[in-house]
Symmetry: C2
């Protein structure tokens, strides 16, 4: 059976790759990674929000430092992103959605600059305020900081999901709202995947999905889902350098 890799070449031109010629006038896209002082972000220029944000947390980083005040900070446009693909404060105005942090501001209390960087709009996505950003999701963020205070290292990957649903016609659809002139996508859900290294160097993994809607005040463990579910839906692979068999606990009761 022939595959592209093994196909014999009965060609009129030599079988050399043509890459240099093809991209002579530029790549349509490549540059989507942004490194900030204390988090790394992959930007999705189509949805105008991040694909994922990755943080490394320790007890030091989440400890409050006098004079570093979240209340003094303002959300600003990420001018490193082309204006065609950038979200603005105006996009959120009147939308009914909060500018929800992906890397949480309070995770970076050790440095004014690091906390300021979490206010870049590339690090936000439209979140339901009451019952979600200000409640259930905030509880999850607080829990993450508690874990950071009680372990050696915590890696947190956070991002949006656009989950499909079956409709009455029997077909399955992805449907999400977009807001503002720049059509900023409103994710249907958000994920958070925690890699926790304790003082003994043992690893635990916890993976959460929450729907972007007002949620009842229930235990965080109700939002644990298999890692593979998130990896498939988000198009990502988490902490690949750690063999899945080497975790001490995966999605054990969280709190």
């Amino acid at each position: 059976k022939q595959t592209p890799a093994s196909a014999s070449t009965s060609s009129s031109t030599p079988p050399v790759s043509n890459v240099g010629q093809i991209v002579k006038y530029g790549f349509p896209s490549t540059d989507n990674l942004r490194s900030y002082d204390d988090f790394i972000l992959s930007y999705d220029r189509r949805t105008r929000t991040a694909n994922w944000v990755l943080e490394h947390l320790t007890q030091d980083k989440v400890t409050r430092v006098k004079g570093i005040e979240r209340s003094k900070m303002k959300f600003i446009e990420d001018t490193s992103i082309h204006e065609f693909h950038r979200s603005t404060n105006k996009d959120y105005q009147g939308s009914g959605y909060d500018r929800g942090h992906l890397a949480a501001a309070a995770n970076h209390r050790h440095s004014e600059k690091a906390m300021n960087q979490t206010f870049l709009l590339s690090n936000t996505a439209p979140q339901v305020g009451e019952g979600f950003n200000r409640n259930a999701w905030n509880n999850l963020e607080k829990y993450v900081r508690a874990v950071a205070r009680n372990n050696k290292n915590v890696y947190v990957c956070t991002g949006p999901l656009y989950l499909p649903r079956k409709e009455p016609d029997g077909k399955t659809y992805v449907k999400y709202e977009v807001i503002g002139q720049n059509h900023v996508a409103v994710p249907t859900h958000f994920f958070k995947v925690l890699l926790i290294e304790n003082e003994k160097g043992q690893f635990d993994l916890q993976s959460y999905v929450m729907p972007n809607q007002p949620l009842p005040d229930i235990k965080l463990q109700h939002f644990l889902v298999p890692l593979e579910t998130i990896e498939r839906a988000a198009g990502l692979l988490f902490y690949q350098n750690i063999p899945k068999t080497s975790y001490r606990k995966i999605n054990a009761a969280a709190s």
Copy 2:
């Protein structure tokens, strides 16, 4: 006014970037480019289809070579993509959609290997067959080859769009079907952006959008749209190395 770039750092830890530590256990994603003999593809692991495919065409490449037959080739899975994020032939079965080429098979008639590579499922997206893939879209592909036969170089960028629509509730939504067990996205539209260099070294640009539905048999020029419309919707920027003021014609009547 303070911005993250200029913020003074009243920090308890040195303001050094933490990137190496953050990605210690791997990036959630980075690797989405694929170079084949005669086209380059950016893969979207979330939608299980390409973001864009870029080709470079000349008269030689689109000329039929005896013995290279499209009819002998079969669509195959792209095993370079993780199975969580890969589309399969089974996903398309019974969906009612064609496996539509993005880089068209007949654009690569000069080499059996190059044509075979266009049959990788990463280079396909679900397309309406009758009235679209087999008709209007096919006409556009044939037109591209005619342009390649009559010019020095043609660069073609092709990809899916997921365009928003206003609904009766006054809000705007993106909605698209997904097919098969791997939830392969069915784009609402497709784009094709042509950069045409004639024998004198002058550049023309033509940018087309077609809805993924049965279309009437009308002239291709009806599907011309401003480049910026595609760049905004797709999250891409085309042929950035060519100043937009240096084009001889942009979206002049096509055929």
